[in-house]
Each structure stands twice: as C-alpha cells, then as structure tokens.
C-alpha cells in the first residue's frame, strides 16, 4: 500500500516578464519566485488497485511521482509505504526496494544489453547471481524478449526498449509500480502490452500508480482517479464518482468541466 499525506514541493521559477516590473523590497527587479509544483496532495492506494493520475502538462504529475518514487524529497508531507505484510517501511533505500519506477526519463544504459542491465541492477537490489538468473529467465519470457535480451539496447527498436524498461522494473518483483506516462508515444500494440501488464499485476495484488493523458485508457483501467491541476488536487475518487460529480458521461468531459470551473473561478477572483 502506498499513501501520500499532504505532499508539497516547492520550486523556483523565473517571474513572467510583465510581472517582473513589480519591484521587491530593495527596489531591484524580482526575477525569481518560489511556487509549489505539488501543493497539498493526499491519497491512498491499496493492494490490487490501479490509481490513475491525470492532469494537463505542467500540472505537477512528474514531480508528484518522483516524490512517491523517492527520487525527490518532499518539501512538506510524507509518503508512507507498507510492504506485502502491511508493515510500514521507513528507510528510504528499503522504500525503493518496494517500488518499481518507470518514466519517460528513465532510459537504460544504451551500451549494455537487457540481460547485463538485469544482472547489475539485480545485484544492487541485493539479489544473488542465481536469483538473478532465475528471475531474468522468468521476466524475459513474460515480456517475450528472449530474442533481443543479449543485444545492446542502443540497437533495439522503441517497442523493444519499452519492454526492456519494464523488465528493469520487474527485477526485484516490487509490490508497488509507479508509471509516468508509460504509453506515451507508443503504437497501439506496444501500449496494449503495457496495459495488459498492468492488469495482470493488479490481479496479482500489486498496487499500480500511473499518470497519463489518455482519458479513455484511464476510465477503463483505473479503480481510482486523482486529477491535479497547477499542483492542486481537483478531484479524487472512482471514475464513476468523478463523472457523477461533474454531471458528464466520460472522463474527458469531466476533466474539461473541472478545469473550466477552476479557471472561471480564479478569473472571477482576479476581477474582484
């Protein structure tokens, strides 16, 4: 199980040009300001659950997932992870052992083969040579990659690479998966492999968190949906609940309605 409690992450960004004219205390131009890329997000994902994280570009999805994956430290709040027996895991490195993290930014070493990567990473997860061998045969068969598992990754096609990346997440048989836009830019067949994989893992009682832009995909796949906009949580619940809330019959419209409501609201506030 993975739980997020009031997560916040503060970043610094350059001030927009027209706003930069406002001078700070010492009369100089204020060129940088701090803002929350993720602002007070909480949720809980149980065993055997797929949680979809939806939001437009720049909403803070990647930052949120990075914090959940232990790649970034939250400015405020905490991430609670419990292992398969329900005991909480506190040590940051042990937390990472429970997680399988995959995003567009997690490429593999192009000069190594999938098998070499598997063995090296397996060693880092504390597995013995034999364990690695048994597990790699298992995973390569599951993902149907026996044909290219000894080729250098730089020579593989995009779909093959994606499968190699997934195999990398599976090395240590984690309880929780975190996927950041795993189907982005893949063809129908390749993305189907990934969707099927997520469904399979769900059946095995694993937790899957994933972010996407594809609303239909999320609607059909996810048990719960977390919608975020400008770092804030705007809706959290089952897809049906969110559609009910917005009085729509698909997630795409629900999403548009929610965002329109928020922009309208903030515009009105700005006018007032």
């Amino acid at each position: 199980m993975i739980e997020a409690k009031n997560l916040r992450k503060e970043f610094i960004r350059p001030v927009k040009k027209d706003e930069a004219k406002t001078s700070s205390l010492f009369g100089g131009k204020k060129t940088k300001e701090s803002f929350f890329a993720v602002n007070n997000i909480s949720f809980k994902a149980q065993k055997g659950e797929i949680l979809g994280i939806l939001g437009p570009n720049g909403a803070g999805k990647t930052t949120l997932l990075r914090m959940l994956g232990g790649l970034m430290t939250p400015s405020e709040g905490e991430v609670i992870i419990t292992d398969s027996d329900g005991n909480p895991v506190t040590d940051p490195t042990s937390k990472k052992k429970c997680l399988g993290y995959l995003s567009n930014n997690t490429a593999l070493y192009a000069r190594l083969s999938p098998r070499e990567t598997f063995y090296l990473f397996g060693e880092l997860y504390g597995m013995s040579r034999e364990e690695c061998k048994v597990r790699s045969d298992e995973v390569f068969e599951l993902l149907n990659m026996q044909d290219f598992c000894d080729q250098r990754i730089e020579k593989l096609s995009t779909g093959q690479r994606q499968r190699a990346s997934i195999s990398r997440c599976l090395i240590h048989n984690p309880q929780i998966y975190i996927f950041d836009e795993p189907t982005l830019g893949l063809d129908i067949l390749a993305s189907e492999t990934i969707i099927n994989f997520m469904k399979e893992e769900k059946k095995k009682g694993k937790t899957v968190l994933y972010s996407t832009h594809y609303m239909e995909e999320a609607q059909y796949l996810c048990d719960h949906i977390l919608m975020i906009y400008e770092g804030r949580q705007i809706a959290y619940g089952t897809p049906e609940f969110i559609m009910q809330l917005t009085d729509t019959n698909n997630l795409r419209d629900a999403f548009k309605t929610l965002i329109r409501d928020i922009t309208d609201y903030s515009e009105k506030e700005g006018e007032a």
Binding site: E10, F11, I12, R13, P14, K32, S34, A37, T63, R66, G69, G70, L71, M72, T73, S75, T93, S94, K95, K96, K97, L99, Y101, S103, N104, N105, T106, A107, L108, Y109, A110, R111, L112, E116, L120, F121, E123, L124, Y125, G126, R152, R168
Partner: protein, 693 residues
C-alpha cells in the same frame, strides 16, 4: 556487504564507459598513436627546416662598385668554413636591387664602399664598408643577412688578429684577454632528467585532464541527456554511492590514460635518442636506477592528482544539461590547467613550501624536480597532502552538488546554487561535520596566507583584521544556516559567583601554564624564540591600542569562534569530552606554534569546560581577556611584573616552578569550588531565566 552496491555501481560505470568508442579513442589511441606521431613529425620537420636553412643557396644582389667583386669573393671564401652558400647577381644601381629585394627576387642586397687603409697598421692597401639591405620580416632574407654578417665579422676579426700578430711577438693574451671555459659536470642522468622534466609535466597533466574530462562529461551530462541518471536514482542505493562510484571510475580512466601516456612517451624518447643524438645525452650510459625514487613519488602523487582532476571535471560537468554544454563549460578548465602546468617551465619556478600548495602547478613542479634529481621528501609530502586536501574539498563540493535536486533534475536549472537557499533551511540548525572541517580548514589557510601578510604590512591593524575574520566567518555561516545563535554561542550572563570563579580559575590555570611552558621549553629549546616576534609591533602602537587589539579583541573573537561556534556545535553532536578536546586542539593548532599548541590545548580545555558548566561564554571571555592583557602589561611595564615574587623573577628555578604549580592547582581548585556550587547538573541551554541583551 555494506560496500557491495558501490562495487556493483563501479563495475557498471566502467563497463558503460569502456564500451563507448570515444572513451577508447581518447584513452588508448590518442596517447599511443597521436602524441608519438605528433612529436616525431614535429621533430623531423624542425630538423628538416634547420638543415634546409643551412644548405640553402641565397641570392645576393651585389651592387657594382670598385670593391664589390672583392667583397663577394671574401664572402664566398670565408663561407666555406660555415657551409653557407651565396649566389651573386650583379646590379648597376642600388635602387633596382632594392626593388628586386622587395619583390623577393633576391634575398639580400649588398652595397660596398672602398675605404683607404693605413698599411702600416692593418697591412692592406684598402678596406671596405659594407651595407646589407634585408627584409627582416622574411625568414630567408633574415637568415641570409645573418649568415653574411657572421662571415664578414669573422673576416674582420681575422684582419684584426693578423695585424696584432704583426705588431707583437706573443700577442695571444691581447687577442683573448679573458679565456672562458665552461665544463658541465652534471651527470648524464641529470641532463636527461632536466630535459624530461621540462616536457613531461605539461604533457602528463594535459593527458590526465583529457583522460578525465571525457568520462566525466559522459558520466554526468551524458547520463542526464540519455535519461539514465533518473533510472539509477530509482535503485535502492545512496546518492553518495552513486557519486563515489562515478568519481572513482572517472579517476581510474584518467590514471590509466596517464600511464599509457607515460609509456608511449618513454618509447618516443627512446626512439628519438636513436635517430638523433641530443648533445651528450648518451642513453647507453644512463643509470636508470637513479630514477627509481622519482618514479615512486610520481606513482604516489599522480593517482591523487588524477582524482583531484576528476573531481574538478565532475563538479563542472554536473551543471551541464547536455554533452555540448558540458564541452563548452569544461573548456575553461583546460585553459586553467594548461596555464598552471606551463608555470613550471619558467626557469625560476622551483618546488618550495609555497609553490607546493598551488594546485596543478605543484604536480608540474614535482615532476620537474624529481626528474632533475633535485627533490626533497618533505616537499613531496606537502604536494601529496595538499593535493589530497584539494581532492577532499572537491569531493565534498561534488557531494553537495550531487545531492541537490536542482542540479540533478534541472527543474529550476536557472536557479542552480551550490548552497542550500536560506529560505529552505529550517530554524535551529546545527552545522554539519563537513561544514565544520571546510570552515576551519579555510579559516586556517586564510590566517596563514592573508593573516601573515596583513600583519606584516599593517602591523597591529592587520591582526585586528584577522580577528574580525576569525569572528565573523563562522558567525555569518551560523546566521546563514539559521542556527539558534543564543544556544550555539552560549550567550547568557554568568552569575557573579561564576564570573569571580573564572578569574580565580584563570589565575590558577595561568600559573600551571607557566610551569608547563618551562617544562616544554626544556624539551623543545628551539621553539621559544618565535613567540617574541609579535611584541615589536605591539610596543610601537602604544598601551591602549595594544590592550584593545591584543588583550580584548582576541578574547571576544577567538572565544566566539572556538568556544562559541566550534564547541557549541560539537557539544550538541558528540560526547562532551570529545567536544572539549577537539575544540581545544583546534584552538591549539590555530596558534601555529608548537609551544603555544600545548598551552592553547590546556587553556582550551579549561575554557570549554567553564563554558559548558556555566552555560555562558562570558566566563571564558573574562578568562581569555585577563590572560592576554597580562601579556600586554608585561610587555609595557616589565618592572611591575618583576616586583611580583617568584613569577616575576627571570629564573624561578625548580623550586619556584614547584611553588607556582602548587599555588596554581590550589587556585584552580578554589575557582572550581566557586564555580562548582552550581555543579549539581549541567546548565540547561533552554533555561532562559537569565537573559542577556
């Protein structure tokens, strides 16, 4: 088992780097083929050019006069000795010849004039005056002119010598009044070493740098560009392991590339000795055994230097988002390293205690000195340790950079900062050990270099500057990281009893210190002189400034730095005894004098304990102030001190010291008792019943 992730990561890094063709090219092909080919080619070309310039036949435009034929004959006759060749082209007019010279049809214009001679003096009917015209911007013309001039000057000298021989019977002393003989008695090893020492440092340093820069870029900016940096962050390993493995793999490649460079250099040198014999450097007679210590010290120092270089490269490259950017921002390192290593070629640069501290240049000078067989183990050690120190500094910097999310993810890359933003720091922080080490190491260096300089230049004002530095640097840092200054610096008014107690304790400690000093000066008699050096500038300044600058200011500045900042940090981090000893030892080292180290250590222990027991820094400030002021009073009014029995006498003797020691101990106990009434429990820092301003 704890180290296992690190080794796996190291294995991965090396595997990844070695499979890159570019690494292989830079590491193996460049040193093994490119450098030798370049060197041999340039050698062949330069020798070829030199030969050509000698053998070349120069076109000389001879302007026709009544002596021009004679002059040219002299020129060609005498040229045989030098192997110069001139070809005569006759011209009627000087202007035509000059025009042809500017059009480069001829190399030189020769104009001559007949001059009547005194036959009785020179033995000739007539002499001549020659004017050469050349194009000094053209190599050929310049060489032609130089050669012709040499020849005619030799001819002129011959006439002179002949004339002298005609006048005197034994004129040799007049012809060469002072005979200068130069005989080199340096061994072939020294000669060979000198030549190697000139060339090797530069090539070695640059090759280590090129060996390090490429893998450093690949391991940082390259990984980020390819997106593998984030992958490795998902693994259950600490950032420090990732960083150290990257650092060591880059250094490994740098060292290997350096070794390959040395080997290929060796072969090139051997080959060069074969094809041309450099003056007197017979390789056959070279005793290689003499170079063994040189090689050993090189082998020890080079890996440390490569590590330093790798850390520098990594620190710079980690900021780059892409390969291209990394290439751009690392080129200044190249320039700095080149410049620093070239400094050793300057004839007067030698490895001394000062130059041994300059990074890069010190390695360059070390190589130069060990190969010239003129080195000092002491200096080799300084080079080694200073490189080690710089290396540690760079690694600490690198780990700070590597743990920064800004640098790693480049989220807000415009706002990349080495230090944590102050706004991010929570209140009530305590400085870390790494920061303490850097801060005090930096402070020491500042005192050694800046401090000694300003004290020499500005006297008493300079020492004031040093004290301000000692006080403000830790304070500013503490403010920056938002320490709770009140508890860190133990700012609290002492109870009157404690204030009195600190005076009594000082009196006791001072007496014990005097006996300690007497004991120490019998053990290390040489060391006593140096402590008297300061006194001159003090007496010049007058009593009041001296009391202020030597008595009062150091008490505040040094107490703030050592008992406040350092001890305050340590006591909340480790056991009390360790905190007391470490802060006192640093205080001792700060005095930069063996005798004062021990007294500083002793006084430091006493003062730290006082601060701890009373919870007030003012007790140790009183202590320190009294101690320093007494020294000033003794300097200005020696008579006053002399009146005091035993302490005042110049030679108290063993008995005197024994009395002093006993009296000191009694006073110390008395002071502790005065203090000790509050001994029951250590004073609680949060107890704010007694507030200071």
């Amino acid at each position: 088992m704890k180290n296992k992730p690190f080794f796996t990561l190291y294995k991965k890094e090396i595997m990844d780097l070695l499979r890159d063709k570019k690494t292989i090219i830079i590491m193996i092909l460049v040193p093994l083929f490119l450098y030798p080919t370049m060197m041999i080619a340039s050698l062949l070309i330069t020798t070829g050019i030199a030969k050509e310039s000698i053998e070349k036949e120069y076109q000389v435009a001879v302007v026709k006069t009544d002596v021009s034929d004679e002059v040219f004959d002299v020129l060609t006759d005498e040229s045989d000795d030098y192997d110069y060749h001139f070809k005569k082209i006759e011209y009627e007019l000087l202007d035509d010849a000059k025009t042809d010279l500017t059009e480069k049809k001829v190399d030189l214009v020769l104009d001559s004039k007949k001059i009547p001679a005194d036959k009785s003096l020179v033995g000739l009917d007539h002499l001549f005056e020659v004017t050469f015209y050349d194009l000094s911007a053209t190599t050929n013309s310049m060489n032609a002119c130089q050669n012709a001039e040499t020849v005619l000057k030799a001819y002129s000298k011959n006439i002179q010598e002949d004339a002298i021989r005609n006048l005197f019977d034994d004129p040799e002393q007049l012809i060469t009044p002072v005979l200068v003989n130069v005989e080199s008695i340096s061994t072939t090893e020294e000669n060979a070493g000198y030549v190697i020492g000139m060339v090797l440092p530069f090539i070695l340093i640059i090759s280590i740098l090129t060996g390090a820069i490429y893998p450093a870029i690949d391991a940082t900016a390259g990984e980020r560009e390819r997106g593998t940096l984030e992958t490795i962050m998902t693994l259950p390993v600490r950032k420090s392991d990732i960083m150290i493995s990257k650092f060591l793999s880059v250094s490994t490649i740098a060292v290997v590339s350096a070794i390959l460079n040395i080997v290929s250099m060796l072969f090139v040198v051997l080959y060069m000795y074969r094809i041309i014999d450099i003056q007197g450097l017979g390789l056959s007679s070279l005793d290689l055994k003499q170079f063994v210590p040189a090689f050993i010290s090189l082998i020890i120092c080079l890996p440390v230097f490569s590590m330093f270089t790798s850390a520098v490269c990594l620190c710079v490259c980690i900021f780059a988002k892409s390969f291209k950017e990394a290439n751009n921002i690392s080129s200044p390192i190249m320039i700095v390293f080149m410049f620093a290593s070239m400094l050793s070629i300057l004839p007067n640069m030698k490895l001394t205690e000062k130059t041994a501290l300059i990074p890069v240049t010190n390695i360059s000078l070390l190589i130069k000195s060990v190969f010239s067989l003129d080195y000092d183990i002491h200096l080799v050690a300084i080079v080694l340790f200073s490189n080690l120190f710089y290396c540690v500094v760079m690694v600490v910097l690198m780990s700070t950079l590597f743990s920064s999310e800004d640098v790693l993810f480049g989220e807000s890359a415009k706002g990349v900062h080495i230090f944590e933003r102050r706004a991010n720091i929570e209140k009530g922080q305590i400085p870390g050990y790494g920061d303490l080490c850097l801060l005090f190491a930096g402070l020491m260096l500042l005192i050694v270099y800046v401090g000694s300089l300003v004290t020499i230049k500005f006297g008493i004002l300079g020492s004031l500057v040093v004290q301000i530095l000692v006080f403000t640097i830790p304070l500013l840092y503490a403010i920056y990281i938002r320490c709770d200054l009140k508890s860190l610096y133990s700012i609290k008014l002492p109870k009157i009893r404690q204030a009195l107690g600190s005076i009594v304790i000082w009196a006791g400690a001072f007496l014990i210190c005097q006996t300690l000093l007497a004991l120490l000066s019998t053990l290390f008699p040489v060391m006593t002189e140096s402590s008297e050096m300061i006194s001159e500038s003090i007496t010049d300044a007058g009593f009041i400034p001296a009391i202020l600058v030597v008595g009062i200011c150091p008490a505040i500045a040094e107490e703030g730095a050592f008992r406040g900042f350092l001890f305050g940090t340590l006591k909340s981090k480790t056991k009390l005894m360790i905190a007391v000893l470490v802060s006192a030892a640093v205080f001792g080292i700060y005095h930069m004098n063996l005798l004062q180290f021990f007294t500083g250590l002793f006084m430091g222990i006493v003062m730290a304990l006082m601060v701890y027991k009373s919870g007030s820094i003012f007790t140790s400030v009183i202590f320190h102030m009294l101690n320093n002021s007494l020294a000033v009073i003794a300097e200005f009014y020696p008579d006053l001190i002399l009146k005091i029995p035993i302490i005042g006498s110049a030679e108290p003797g063993v008995g005197g010291y024994a009395i002093m020691f006993i009296a000191g101990s009694v006073l110390l106990m008395l002071g502790i008792l005065l203090f000790g009434i509050t001994f029951r429990k250590p004073v609680n820092e949060n107890n704010t019943t007694q507030k200071s301003e």
